[in-house]
Structures are given as structure tokens and as C-alpha cells.
């Protein structure tokens, strides 16, 4: 894409009402727009990153048997009353609204209830199990405070997967598969080495759960890491009995602040019993389905990548989630160099390399500052000496390393 056509503009100053580094950088670079605290729009660059994250997650969910659906945001209170999760004293982040006839509706903050209810129409026998459904869906959570940029939204895109199994053994085996799939997601999105499977409390309705926590100074959680076992324990469950059960020694654990980038829950028959999701086993007996849920917030993950990998010049995207493969910068207004850059852009696009091409009529310093801010991992510079030398500069955004390549070698490097 030609940057002169991209409608978003970068800006030098962070907006004054934004405390979080992730939102400051993403707004400055034109990835997002703030509607209000905790509510952000995704602009073309931001939507590209979200789509790449979504595709990585989708591949991993499909690989473990997930079937994609999309449930509604508007929620009928009746199914939430059945599981005792409608009241604000039970779930304190409900947004509520009303139909014209004044009956109350909720905006989905999670989807256990409608997913279980829907599955009743499609599941009746042991032959219908196991089943795994997932969606990328907008959640609404009425957070009292929302100061963490896109990491804690009042409206945010979440991948939520749900497991339906015939017994605990089958459910446990899938739970392990889901853990491995989640690890692949964090590895592929560039935060794997900082992310720990973490033992945590189960919140309101299951005793324990697992979270994935990414070590980061701005994290709202406090975890204790065992480097030896490559796992962690959330502060909220740091009890001697639990540590003993996990085979961990308090003295060997390292404390860190961390961001929760995913969570997985074993519900057992919670939800399925209340909502009557049963199956007939081999003997024709009705049995409750064993249920689980597995969530990843896409904005949270994107914000974590920015918090973790940016530097003082701007964002540094991993290649796997960057909005473009390369940032081609025509550094000088010399017509011959511009014609060279134009032709190189066309050639790269024709080779299937998705390039952002800075063809704007700006000073070199401004272009390079913007390129650092936007953070595409590979920069290709067509400069003053490109015509004479026949070489472009290829700069690695992360470490600043520079290679000089002939045109053919450049195309080959991306193919």
C-alpha cells in the first residue's frame, strides 16, 4: 500500500488522556482511535495486526478440532438466571439494555450460557461427543476503571473456545491439548519466552484454573515463577498446601509482575447441569456433559506485544503479526530514485510481498521517525546512492542491523 493513500496520520505527541504505553504508541502510529476510556476503534494498520493474530489463533484452534461460530452480543437474562450469573452481585461487569417493550437484555461479557444452551439443539448422544466450538466475538464488560489501553477494554474482541466432553478423562486430555495450542499461539505471536502457564484461582465458579501470564512491568497481576519447571503461581493462590501439591518450593520462586494473556477453565458439570445439556451414554442413561472454556483477548495480546517489544523510538512488531512484511521508504525526492522505488514497490507487490511504501513528499528524518514508530520489522531504504550502487539498504527494526542488497537478491529474500 502506498503510504500517501493510507488515511491515518502519525503524531509526535501522545494524547494527554492516555496513560498506557500500548495505547499511546498505537494512537501515535495510527493503529487505533480512542472513542472513550476502554473503547477503541481499529484503523487499517491496527485491523491488519488483529487479523494476523486472529488467523494464528484460528489455525491453532482448528488444529485441535475447534469449529468456528459467532454468537450474539445481546443476551436473554433467562439463561443467565438459570446459572445464577445475572445479578451484579454475581457478575459485576454486566452492561444492560432494554427492548422497546421494556424487557431487560444483557450484553455478553462471556458466552458459557448461550453456548451451552445452543448446543442442546445439536447434541444428544455419546456419538455426538467430543465437540469443540469457538468464536472471535466482541465482549462487553462494564469495567469500573479502564486505564490500560487496549489491554483492558470495556468492549473487546475475544477468542473463546468451549469444550464438550463425555467424561473427565476425555476433558482432561483436551485440556492438555489446549495448553499446547495456547503455547503455540504465544510462541507464534512473539511473546512465548516471556509467558508462563500459571496456576490460579478459578474465579467465581471453579476452584482453580490456569492462566497464561506474560512477564511485564505494567502487568496488573503478581506471579511467582519456577524457572526450573517453567511454570508460575498466581499471588492469589500462594499457599503452602498448593505449592506442595504443585511440587514447588517457595524459596525457589521468582516474583514478577505479569499480564494475563489467556485463561482456561475446567468447569466439570457446572453450566451443563443447570442448563440441562446432557447426552445418552452407551447404556441409554442421561449424563451431564463435561464442560470447559478457553479464552484469549485479542486486544490484550496485541497490547502486550506492544508493551513488551517496543523501544523508545516506537513499536517493534514480530514478523508474524506485523501489518506489512516490509516498509519501503523512498528517502530522497530525486526523480530517478523515486522512479526506482516505484518500480521496486510494483515488483515486490507482484511477487506477493505485502509492502507499505512511503511515497510521501516528506523530509527523510520524518519518514525514518514514522517508520520507527510504526514498527514494521524490515525496512527497505531507497537512498541517494541506490542508483549508483545498485543496492538498497535493508534495516532490521529490532536491532538496527543493516544489510546492503542488490535488487534481485532483495526480491529473493522475501520470496
Amino acid at each position: 500500500m502506498r503510504q500517501s493513500q493510507l488515511f491515518t496520520k502519525t503524531r509526535r505527541e501522545a494524547p494527554k488522556d492516555e496513560e498506557a504505553k500500548n495505547a499511546q504508541l498505537l494512537i501515535r502510529a495510527g493503529y487505533i482511535h480512542k472513542e472513550m476510556a476502554g473503547v477503541y476503534d481499529y484503523l487499517p494498520l491496527g485491523l491488519r495486526v488483529i487479523d494476523r493474530i486472529r488467523n494464528i489463533i484460528r489455525e491453532e484452534m482448528n488444529a485441535i478440532g475447534g469449529q468456528e461460530v459467532s454468537l450474539s452480543a445481546l443476551q436473554n437474562p433467562a439463561i443467565w438466571q438459570a446459572t445464577d450469573r445475572w445479578g451484579d452481585d454475581k457478575v459485576d461487569v454486566w452492561f444492560r439494555t432494554r427492548l422497546k417493550n421494556d424487557s431487560e437484555l444483557g450484553l455478553g461479557c462471556t458466552h458459557e450460557e448461550p453456548m451451552v444452551r445452543m448446543m442442546r439443539d445439536h447434541l444428544s448422544s455419546y456419538r455426538d461427543l467430543p465437540r469443540y466450538t469457538y468464536q472471535f466475538q466482541t465482549k462487553f464488560r462494564n469495567e469500573l476503571r479502564a486505564k490500560s489501553g487496549i489491554m483492558r477494554g470495556r468492549e473487546f474482541l475475544m477468542k473463546d473456545l468451549y469444550s464438550f466432553n463425555k467424561d473427565q478423562e476425555e476433558a482432561d486430555a483436551f485440556y492438555e491439548q489446549a495448553i499446547q495450542a495456547y503455547k503455540k499461539v504465544y510462541d507464534r505471536t512473539g511473546i512465548g519466552e516471556h509467558t508462563y502457564l500459571t496456576f490460579a484461582s478459578g474465579g467465581m465458579f471453579s476452584k482453580f484454573s490456569h492462566e497464561f501470564q506474560t512477564v511485564c512491568e505494567v502487568g496488573e497481576d503478581r506471579i511467582y515463577i519456577s524457572d526450573e519447571k517453567r511454570m508460575a503461581v498466581n499471588d492469589e493462590v500462594m499457599e503452602d498446601a498448593i505449592l506442595a501439591n504443585l511440587g514447588l518450593e517457595r524459596g525457589k520462586l521468582r516474583e514478577a509482575k505479569a499480564i494475563e494473556v489467556g485463561n482456561i477453565f475446567k468447569y466439570g458439570t457446572r453450566y451443563t447441569k443447570e442448563l440441562g445439556l446432557t447426552y445418552r451414554d452407551h447404556d441409554g442413561e442421561e449424563q451431564p456433559v463435561i464442560f470447559g472454556a478457553y479464552g484469549i483477548g485479542l486486544g490484550r495480546l496485541m497490547g502486550t506485544i506492544v508493551e513488551l517489544l517496543s523501544d523508545d523510538k516506537g513499536i517493534v512488531w514480530p514478523e508474524t503479526v506485523a501489518p506489512f512484511r516490509a516498509h519501503l521508504v523512498a528517502l530522497v525526492p530525486d526523480p530517478v530514485a523515486v522512479a526506482y522505488a516505484d518500480a521496486l514497490y510494483e515488483e515486490l507487490m507482484a511477487s506477493g510481498v505485502d509492502v507499505l511504501y512511503d511515497d510521501r513528499d516528506l523530509r527523510a528524518g520524518e519518514k525514518l521517525a514514522d517508520s520507527d514508530l510504526i514498527g514494521i520489522p524490515t525496512r527497505i531504504i531507497v537512498g541517494r546512492d541506490t542508483i549508483d550502487s545498485g543496492q538498497v539498504e535493508v534495516v532490521n527494526r529490532k536491532d538496527g542491523e543493516v544489510m546492503r542488497l542488490e535488487r534481485g537478491a532483495l526480491i529473493g529474500a522475501f520470496a
Copy 2:
């Protein structure tokens, strides 16, 4: 995909609380699930159709210069008060909700206001024009009645494109481009020949507009068609002065019921003036941006295709939006025939042909009835005589035409 793995089940009977044929068929075939009147979930087959429609629309919007974004559903009343569209007396479909601090928010029923407001941060000079933004985004509309299945939702996915131009001439030229792009969308999704560009009232805030109306008995609108000019006039603007202006004669028009499958609006400086979206022209003077909006409801379009093209056995998808390229049906439980079908399935998938494979242990009649109901355009039958003859039956869902093909020829036909 193996149908034994697909979690959705078909059902013989339509749900009793569903009047609309589109929802009856889509629920029976397992494409959607009804949460409440006007609120539907998309299940795997339904989401595939929506995604194919989305991709067609995306290609056509990109082709006319659209840049994709995704704006929030939660809306700050302030920007809607600025244009006098917050009150229920102005826009009567608002869903409202409240933050914890009791301040009121809206759920976006359309996005002119936030789109114009966002653009203020990125547009300041004539050099920044023209700009075209679009999104696929969930709209919420508090409809008093919602009885038309997925054709009139309280929550529905919409493509909304917005145009920002420097003057009326440039805006008018884009408007013509948008009309052509919309025609391509309807042609590509299989309803083009039944769809007419229709002159209509502009609703609340523009005098006139154009709609795209698809002739269909269950349509809520009444239009008058000029076959000669291949255009129509909405009942609401059937006045002699208007007909004269359009060069139409009342006596030559044909009356029909129709479904509004798209609408396009020229707003002029409405919205941009109220929200202060201006640009500096060549002389440095501040000018209001000329604005337009262009909408297609994806559920409405999908529902229209079902209403228009289904028959008494079920849905008949056009190839371009069908959930799968072909429906492979292993008709007999004979192990040799099943092994043949298994191998054919693997071979088709390996050739990149996305196939639904009915490998279920069911009677032939049930399988064929399900296949008719689901409506994939091409059915491949592995039957009793396939092994002897070395041929499969290829059945066209639309007209029932049968071809007998050798395996190699079959693969070739899809490649």
C-alpha cells in the same frame, strides 16, 4: 469437512416461533440458531456463507479505494447530540446502556458520527482527500418488531462505507463508482438479475437516496420497475414531479414487492459541518468535507438469497456463497464404496476442493434429504454402482441435472 464431525444437526420441522422462510430453512439446516426475535447466532455453515459474502464485498470495496477499519459498538452520546441524532424522537432504534458511573452510552445503530469524528484526527488538507473507509461491524437496532428472520435483525453484521470528498463533483463521481461496485456485489452473490437500483426518499437527513431492491414476495417495500431503464422507484416517492425528473412514465412501470438489500446516501455537508470535519483548500481556506454513506446488511443479503433461490426441498446456494464447493455423499454402507468415498474425499481436499463429506451412518434417503436442505450446489454421489462402473454421479442441486463422471474427470472439473 466430515459431516460426522460437524456439530450441527438438521431437523425436519421448522421451529414454531419462526415465521420467516429464510430463518426456518437456515435453522432447519443448521446454519443459524435463534437467541430471541431478531437475534441469531451463526453456526459453522452459516459463518462460512457470511464469510464468503464478506469477502466478495471486501474485494469490491477495496477495488474502489476503500480502507477497512472497525469502529466500536459503544457510543458516546455527545457526538450524536452534536448532530441531533441522540433522542428517540430522532432515531427510534437506539439501544442504550450505562457505565458504572451511571453515564449513558448508546449501541451504534449506524456509524456516521464516530466515523466523521475519528476522521478529524487524520484529515486536514485537500491533499488528504478523497478518502474512503469501510467496516464490517455489528449494528444494534431496537426494532419494535423483528419477524423477518435474519433479514431484519436487532443485532446484525453490516458493511458500511463512508466517502470523504473535497467537492460535490468528486463525490458524485464516487457515488457512481459505488453504484457499480454494489451491482457487482449483487451479481456475484447471485441476486443481480432480480435487483434494481431504486430511487427512494432519503430518510431523516437527506432528501433522496438510492436503494438496491431485490424483487421478492416477502419484501416489506413496494417498488415500481421500469424494465426498459432497468431501474425502479420506491412507493414512498411515487410522485409525478419525481417521475418526470427521472424520465419515467407511470403507465409503463411494473409494481413489485421487494427487499432493500443496500442503500447509498449523499449527505453533502450534513454531519461534517456539525462535527467540524473541514479541510484547507488550495487557497488555505477551511471547507467542509462532502460526505456519503453506503450500506449493505450481510444477514439481510444472505436471507434474501435464501428467500429467492430456495425450493420446496431446501436451500439452493449460488456457488459463490455456498459453504462448501461440493457435497460428497457416501450413499451406501458397503465397505468398498465407503473406502472409495473416503479416498475421493482425501483426494478432493488435497486438490484444494473444499468439500463437505457425508460419512454418517444414515439411510440414503435421510442423507439425500439433508443434502437438499443444506443446498450445496454440487452433489457428488458414491453409490452402489460406483465401484463397478468407476463413475460417480454429479448432481446439480438447482435443476437436478445428473452427470456421470470418472474419478479423474471429476477432480479435473473442480481444479
